[in-house]
Every structure is written in structure tokens, then in C-alpha cells.
Symmetry: C2
Subunit: 333 residues, 2 copies
């Protein structure tokens, strides 16, 4: 399962609110911090609205044949999700002084790949999930055959955007680099390879190294690509800064999936009488299951620090990227 | 179902042999024709061997993790198939004086997309086929979850080749054009859109126009892309010749699927006591079912003539392309 916590219905709207400053913070300068976080919340919501609109404009219209496929694609992509990957694209672009309009289609392409992976992942032959984000999964709302085609068509559309979307930088070399990054992150050395290891994992004894390697592929690769693809839209970027962004993105991608495990464990603990989670029921090896909750939390803290350290060469422009890392990796415990 | 006649096990080896000249042809110059056809048979086999090797070299190795996914990808792509699309790529390249090495990776990318569509199409939620080319389908030889991931990973690999394969022309603009052509042919306006119309078709009354539109998408789009992608590798090609190739490719793509229907009908007729074909069992509308066998045959003949007429601006170099059209559209009745 990818990004299982989506199922728990956590949303952007409820998360940053918990860290927004209150009147009692005023004493020791926390007011500034609170104001910054409030501004960040506004920024997140603005980016979410932007990507929603950008995706809606790029998905095939629901009134054109084949209408059922188009409707199912729109159902599967629109109206939900935290949009973590597009936000990483936008925040990286901000750090590099690139406008959001220039990276918007790349953000859409990444989100389409993420969305397709969820549609296929929910199928009966995979995770067999009936609900996602509180709504019936694609194959439940439509049918299995349609859900298979939805995933296939979303992947094609992602690459079509990189090749043809007029909003991206016109330079073919830039677009080709974006295509290479997305294809590599999506395929056997990235997301799909990680999913294949994942579906073979139940009942196996994996080492923590093997679990982290699987996470780095199934979740980390696309997270990493989000940062690198935004950076690729600034082809004149110094190699040192490209490297710094790669050093930021890799630990964020890995930590994001471990954090997801931790949120699941904490949700289990908090919810009395809750049915055992699907991962447990299938003896799915997870990071906290192998090393323990405390060690997983420590690992996330370490990766978070590593990610922030990598951003040292960037000045204030990388603040949204830092805040995003905080929001993804710190906010929930 | 795409290219159902694959299931009937028709192969390159047995087809051209039937039209190779014999000693009795000598009288009226048919010896030359026979010799040409024999040479064409040798050419087809050479191209098939070349694409098999090219695909084998580009698929992920079976001894690297995730081994099961890699093995299933190789199982689904290698060791079978007529390789119609790669042969169209090679024959178009020949017509334009481009070496096979320069278009080989594009041919692989197209064949990977075709192969992924077959793997997903065979799934229980789609056509539910247990056999393809006389071997268990991917989900039977492995499992459904793996088959879903195989299709996903093959599509990613196709685009990865176009972005990164060193054998293709280095010019990013050429590679980007290839990516745009393949993405468009694969997605909602091409193959996947056609499949979506196809799975909604059983029991519906489609007009011949609607059926031809569906065929042009589900089969024709990728056939057409095979010719156009080879042409894209010759970016200096005059617009008139680009247009001529497009005018050749579109009727070939449509006629190829109608011909496939006809071969199925003839196979049914020829085989006493054969179980009703799956298409019939599901009341799948086909071209001959709607207009009759004779009218379908006439339509194929007309499309074949249209395709050959489009090649008029090309001299002898397009001979393999003409022979390919003959082989695909004429040989079997």
C-alpha cells in the first residue's frame, strides 16, 4: 500500500492548524513563528487550489467519448489528496525563483502518476481496498476493467503533458530531462519496482535496510522526482545546487513513508476497538514493526535533519521547502 | 480484445511461405515476384531477430530485484509475436534511408506499449484470457498483481527508452516528438480510449462508423505511430513525405484490425465444432458482424489500395513498406 494514511482522511486543512500560533505564544517571539506558519497554511491551500484547477484543465472532458473512462479518470484524480508532490514541485520552484506557471504541468504529470498508482494499487488483485479518502475506490465506483484502463491512461497522459503541454519551458532538452526523471521514478527502478517488492513482502522477514530500500523506491522515488523535476526547469542551475536539492529530496522521500507507518501505528493505538489494519492482517513488514516505534521516530528525525542540512546553500527562498519538510515529517507527533 | 489473431497462432514463418513462387511461376515473369517475396521473408525474419535481441537487451535483467517482476516482464515481451509494429518502424526507416540502429529503440518502445496492453487486456476484469500465443497469459503464469505491475512498468520503460536510450538520435527535439507521438497513440485519444469503447461495446448496436472509429484508436493509433515515429527520426524530411507516410499509416492501421476480424471469422468457419469465439459469446460488435464478410473484405481491399497510393511519392526504397502492407492485409484470403 502506498501512502496509507490518505485512507485515514488526514487533510491539509486540519494539519497546519495545529501548529498555528495562538495569543499565548506572544511572550517569547513565537508570534512571528505562528504568523509564518499561518502564512504557510495559506500558501499550501493556494497551491492545492492551483493544482486542482491545473489537473481539471488537463484531464479529458467528461462529456467526450469514451465518457465513462474520462469520468473515472477525473473521479480518481480530482477532489482529494494532500497533493504532497505538486507542493514539493511548487516549493522547489520558489526556492529557485521559477514561477509556478512554468512547473505546473510537471506537477500535474507527477500527480497523475501518483494517482494512477493508487487506482491500480486499490484493485482486488493488489491491496483490495474499497475506500480511498472516504470515497469508493475507482473500481468500486466504476468497475475493475475501467480502473485498469484509468491507470494506464493516466500514465500516458503524464508523459503527454511533459512532451506537449505549452505551459512548460519550450526547450526540448528540459522536457526530455523531465521525461527521463519521471520515467525512471515510475518504473522498475522506482515506484513500480518498489510496489513489486512490497506485494512479495507479506510473511517475509525483511531487514530494516531492505524495508528502507523498498520505501525509497515505492514512495521515495516520486517524492525525489518532484524536487528534481522542478530543478530541471531551471537548466542553468549550478551543479552544486542541483546536488543540494537531490540531497534534500532523498531523505524526505524515505522519511515520508516511515512517517506514514508511524501515523498508522498511532492511529491504531488511539482508536480503541479498531479493526486490525490491513498491513498487520497480511503481516506486511513495516519500519516500526521491524525496529520499533521509537527507533522509527528517531530515524525520521535524523532524515528530517539531514534534509534541512542539505538546504544550507539556499537562503530565505527555500523557506517554503523547509516548512514543507516540517509539515510532512514533524507535525504529527 | 486487441489483435485477436495472435491467439490463433498465425506466425510470420507460415505466412509468406504461401506466396513464395514455385517453378511453375516461371512462364510469365512470376519468378521475379517469387524471388522478391522470398527475399522479403528473409527480411522479416531478420527484423524479427533484431527486435527480439533489442528488446532482450533493454528489459530489466531477471536476476536483479524485483526478480519476479523482471521475469514476468521478459516473459510477456520476449519469445513471441509477429512484431508488426517494429517491422513497420524498420520498413519506414528503410524508405527514408535511415539505419535500423537509429530507430531500434523507438521500435522497442512501441512494442513495449503493445505488450503492456496485451498483458492488461488478458486480465480477468478485461478479456479474461488464459492463453496467448499458446502460452499461459502473464497473470496465469505469474499472478494478477504482478501482471498489473508488469503492464505499468512496461509503459514506463517505453517512455524511458525514448528519453534516455543512447541508440536514438541525440537531438532532444526528435526524442520529444517521439514521446509526444507515443503518448498520444497510447492514451485516451488512442489505444486506451479505443479499449474503453471496446469494453463498453458488448450488447450495443454500433454503426460501422463507430466500429471503425474504435478500431482506428485501439489498434490503428499504435500502428500509425510506428510509421510516424520512424519518420520523426528523419527530422529534415519534407512535409509532403511526412504527410504521405501519415496517409499510408492510417488506412493500414484500420485495415489491420478489420483483417483480424476476418481471420477470426474464417477460422471459425474452417474449424468444425470449434467453440464459439469469445467475441461472439459476448456479443462483441465486429466489422464483419455489422456489414458482412464480403463488405469487410472489400473495405480492407479499399484501404489497402489507399495505403499503397499514398506511397506514390516514394521510389523503390518504400518497397519493404509496400510488401509489409501486402503481407498484413492481403496474404490471408
Amino acid at each position: 500500500m502506498i501512502e496509507g494514511a490518505d485512507l485515514a482522511g488526514r487533510s491539509v486543512a486540519d494539519a497546519p492548524a495545529a501548529v498555528v500560533g495562538t495569543a499565548t505564544d506572544i511572550a517569547d517571539g513565537r508570534e512571528t513563528e505562528g504568523a509564518e506558519r499561518a502564512a504557510f497554511t495559506v500558501q499550501l491551500k493556494s497551491w492545492q487550489a492551483r493544482i486542482e484547477q491545473a489537473l481539471a484543465a488537463r484531464l479529458p472532458p467528461p462529456d467526450v467519448e469514451p465518457t465513462r473512462l474520462h469520468a473515472a479518470m477525473r473521479y480518481s484524480v480530482l477532489g482529494g489528496g494532500k497533493r504532497v508532490r505538486p507542493m514539493l514541485v511548487f516549493a522547489t520552484a520558489r526556492a529557485l525563483g521559477i514561477g509556478e506557471a512554468q512547473v505546473e504541468a510537471a506537477a500535474c504529470a507527477i500527480e497523475l502518476v501518483h494517482a494512477y498508482s493508487l487506482v491500480h494499487d486499490d484493485l482486488p488483485a493488489m491491496d483490495d481496498d474499497d475506500l480511498r479518502r472516504g470515497r469508493p475506490t475507482c473500481h468500486k465506483a466504476f468497475d475493475e476493467g475501467t480502473a485498469i484502463l484509468v491507470g494506464d491512461a493516466l500514465q500516458s497522459l503524464a508523459f503527454q503533458l511533459l512532451a506537449s503541454d505549452p505551459a512548460l519551458p519550450a526547450d526540448p532538452a528540459v522536457r526530455l530531462r523531465l521525461t527521463a526523471l519521471l520515467a525512471e521514478a515510475s518504473g522498475v527502478s522506482g515506484m513500480t519496482g518498489g510496489q513489486a517488492i512490497d506485494i512479495a513482502a507479506p510473511g517475509q522477514q525483511l531487514t530494516v535496510g531492505e524495508i528502507e530500500s523498498m520505501y525509497a523506491r515505492k514512495t521515495g522515488a516520486l517524492i525525489r522526482a518532484s524536487v528534481l523535476m522542478a530543478a530541471a526547469c531551471a537548466p542553468a542551475l549550478a551543479g552544486q545546487l542541483q546536488a543540494a536539492l537531490a540531497d534534500f529530496a532523498a531523505p524526505v522521500g524515505l522519511a515520508f513513508q516511515i512517517q506514514d507507518d508511524l501515523l498508522d501505528v498511532l492511529a491504531d493505538t488511539a482508536t480503541l476497538g479498531k479493526a486490525t489494519r490491513a498491513d498487520h492482517a497480511r503481516a506486511q513488514p513495516t519500519h516500526p514493526a521491524v525496529v520499533g516505534v521509537a527507533a522509527s521516530q528517531e530515524r525520521v528525525r535524523g532524515l528530517h535533519a539531514e534534509a534541512l542540512a542539505a538546504l544550507a546553500p539556499f537562503a530565505a527562498s527555500a523557506e517554503p521547502l523547509r516548512q514543507l519538510a516540517d509539515w510532512l515529517l514533524v507535525r504529527s507527533y
